[in-house]
């Protein structure tokens, strides 16, 4: 009797085992012909690339329409930063008309290489002066080039056309594998 059971387990499983192997082969065969998932960066960078609007690529100054910035060098962001990414230098300036003293920003230094994109500086800012953009192509050959001076640069809204709006549209469940 025991031998019978043994025989059953010896032969009985072969059939179902082969069936599971067949199912596996069927799946891979099906996928062989389905559309692929590789997105071809950088060929697609100006065409089909999508970058989430809220992606944190780097910090920039928000500008008014006339190009002026809103930073009052209150140092809230510098204090909030966990790893000293932001260094602000400023001096006191007296407004000749009102006679009020006011801080004037000399330099807003932001080290992209040190930044961990925690958004604490943006959260700390009371003047809505800084924000993160999704401009992500930040690689350079020299670390020093990552030290940015946000007040001095004229940020034109990303290295790629339409990037700030997110680029090409995104469809969940599909990949845009084309380059054009």
């Amino acid at each position: 009797m025991k031998e019978m059971e043994n025989n059953k387990s010896y032969f009985g499983e072969i059939g179902s085992a082969l069936k599971t192997l067949g199912t596996g082969l069927k799946v891979t065969m099906k996928e062989y012909f389905t559309p692929k998932s590789t997105e071809q960066y950088p060929e697609n960078r100006k065409t089909t690339l999508h970058v989430a609007k809220r992606h944190r690529g780097r910090l920039v100054f928000k500008r008014n329409e006339d190009g002026s910035y809103k930073c009052t060098s209150c140092l809230m962001c510098e204090k909030a930063c966990p790893n000293d990414t932001i260094k602000i230098t400023s001096h006191m300036e007296e407004n000749p008309e009102t006679g009020r003293k006011k801080k004037k920003l000399d330099d807003y230094q932001y080290d992209l290489g040190d930044c961990m994109f925690c958004q604490l500086c943006v959260n700390a800012c009371n003047f809505d002066a800084i924000e993160f953009t999704n401009d992500f192509e930040n690689s350079v050959f020299d670390r020093n080039k990552l030290v940015l001076h946000l007040d001095k640069e004229v940020y034109q809204g990303g290295s790629l056309p339409n990037l700030i709006e997110g680029g090409a549209p995104l469809t969940i469940g599909k990949f845009n594998t084309k380059t054009k």
Binding site: S16, T28, S37, C118
Partner: protein, 523 residues
């Protein structure tokens, strides 16, 4: 949970702990927190859970000073989970646990002589030069005990025999999901022992957090386990919000629950993939990665991050959900359901997979509890340990979902628990996604956040187990002591037990199905 510690002293500690376990059924040791209590001295807080009614309690004991040393009796004989937890306390605070057979350092190098979490630790760079020599390793370990006269005596134990064939799996090894090093003593293809070595990605987060403001500490949790960024941060903001007594709006709770579950799907998909990859099925891995990409896309539209999500903050969320979020999430749920069957077809149901998984890395119910094998690994042994059910947080008390428990207690059931949980997560999301109430996504906090005095412990169900955060606040703007209960530490501690007598290939299989992420357990 606000901690009301049962105060114990050195003399009654061992007896009282044994009573808690045997009489009151506190058989799950959640975590041990070593702390420098300042003037009171060094000590430990033990958080325990009764696995029958899920009641939790905590005990506190102050270490006894013997000469220069601090000692506490080991609870290893009561809870095996204490093995690595006590070694961690020894490593960071220098408390020697009497009767623990393996009192080596766990995270820091063997030749490091000081104890970083003591409050008198010298943090100056001069005292902390990075060593450029190789780390010395011995074949011996030490057990400490008190003799009749109350003096500390050391007993040496051999770790390896002369002719043991020792193979290092890691710190860099294709099957280790990070820099974990498992020293395996082999007899041919059979495993005799596993000694885990941790700390290759130890960043001293708990120490760093002691000098950070509360908002700053948040940035750390995303970097713990890159697959459970949401859940980990949930635990940390949870404990701070509980300490401060912040009432969150319904909207925040809904979104947090959805995000946690999306993150769980992300975690489980990667788990299913890497489990396949570790068995050599690279194709199944890539199918999971392909679909995980969609999950990440959905999350990124709202959070702006893929691994480092950076979404929860004290008092709410970083930003409101993306306008397309609801629709995207629904599309995703619809897309994912049939795909889960595909993973099963190509890998999970495969006869080779069954042969590789079944009976591998066994760990029964009793051992699972004793070794604190939380999460899917414990549920695969039939242990009802889901924090979402036992200690509901966010919206988990309101939604309908099943806690998946199976009873195979081996690699195969662990895999299956993950598969089933994917469906449950999808269910949870689909219940909530259409009903997100209107309201504030962030409740404004003071510019400087201070938590009133007290001790709290808050835990969430992470991807691979319970992730908890203990906070001891002294009313400052930074925590006095913040301790995280990583998901993987107790899992790693159970490795030796699971793998004795199994094959080398089973080491990889068990590692694949136990699902640990090394930055999480190293912190």
């Amino acid at each position: 949970m606000k901690l009301n510690n049962i105060e114990l002293n050195f003399d009654n500690f061992a007896g009282e702990m044994a009573k808690l376990k045997s009489e009151k059924h506190f058989d799950y040791l959640v975590t041990i927190i070593g702390e420098d209590f300042g003037e009171e001295g060094l000590g430990c807080i033990y958080i325990l859970e009764n696995t029958q009614n899920h009641e939790r309690c905590s005990t506190r004991v102050i270490a006894k000073q013997v000469g220069e040393d601090y000692v506490i009796p080991s609870v290893l004989k009561l809870w095996n989970a204490a093995n690595l937890l006590e070694r961690e306390v020894f490593d960071f605070l220098g408390i020697k646990f009497l009767g623990h057979p393996d009192m080596r350092r766990l995270f820091m190098r063997n030749d490091f002589t000081r104890y970083p979490l003591r409050k008198d630790f010298d943090e100056s760079p001069d005292a902390n030069r990075f060593p450029t020599t190789d780390e010395p390793e011995t074949d011996f370990t030490t057990e400490w005990n008190l003799d009749k006269n109350g003096n500390l005596v050391a007993t040496r134990h051999r770790l390896f025999d002369e002719d043991d064939f020792v193979v290092n799996f890691g710190p860099n090894h294709p099957s280790m999901h990070g820099v974990l090093r498992l020293q395996a003593v082999l007899d041919g293809e059979t495993v005799k022992h596993i000694y885990p070595h941790l700390g290759y990605i130890h960043r001293g987060m708990e120490k760093m957090m002691e000098s950070m403001t509360y908002p700053q500490t948040l940035a750390m949790t995303d970097r713990l386990n890159y697959l459970c960024a949401m859940m980990h941060r949930h635990a940390l903001v949870g404990v701070i919000e509980e300490g401060m007594g912040i009432e969150l709006s319904e909207r925040i709770q809904y979104i947090r629950t959805i995000m946690d579950e999306l993150q769980r799907i992300d975690n489980h998909l990667l788990y299913l993939g890497t489990a396949a990859q570790d068995l050599g099925a690279l194709t199944a891995f890539l199918y999971c990665m392909r679909d995980r990409e969609h999950v990440l896309n959905v999350m990124e539209e709202t959070t702006g991050g893929r691994l480092i999500q950076n979404y929860y903050r004290i008092g709410g969320l970083q930003d409101d959900i993306d306008p397309n979020f609801v629709e995207n999430t629904k599309t995703l749920c619809k897309y994912l359901r049939p795909m889960i069957q595909e993973y099963m077809d190509v890998f999970g149901d495969n006869v080779i997979t069954h042969n590789r998984f079944e009976g591998v890395g066994p760990m029964g119910l009793e051992d699972s509890i004793n070794y604190a094998l939380t999460g899917p690994a414990g549920r695969a042994a039939g242990w009802h340990n889901d924090v979402r059910k036992n200690h509901p947080y966010a919206c988990y008390g309101q939604v309908n979902f099943k806690e998946i428990t199976l009873d195979g207690a081996d690699a195969m059931t662990r895999y299956m628990v993950h598969i089933e949980e994917l469906y449950q997560s999808l269910d949870i999301i689909e219940q909530l996604i259409d009903n997100i109430p209107e309201g504030e996504f962030y409740i404004k906090q003071k510019p400087i956040i201070k938590v009133p005095e007290g001790q709290w412990y808050f835990s969430v169900e992470g991807g691979a187990g319970e992730f908890g955060v203990y906070l001891d606040s002294r009313g400052d703007k930074s925590p006095y002591r913040l301790k995280m209960r990583p998901m993987g530490l107790t899992l790693t501690g159970a490795f030796d037990k699971m793998l004795r007598g199994q094959k080398v290939a089973d080491l990889v299989t068990t590692g694949a199905t136990i699902d640990f992420v090394i930055p999480d357990l190293d912190r």
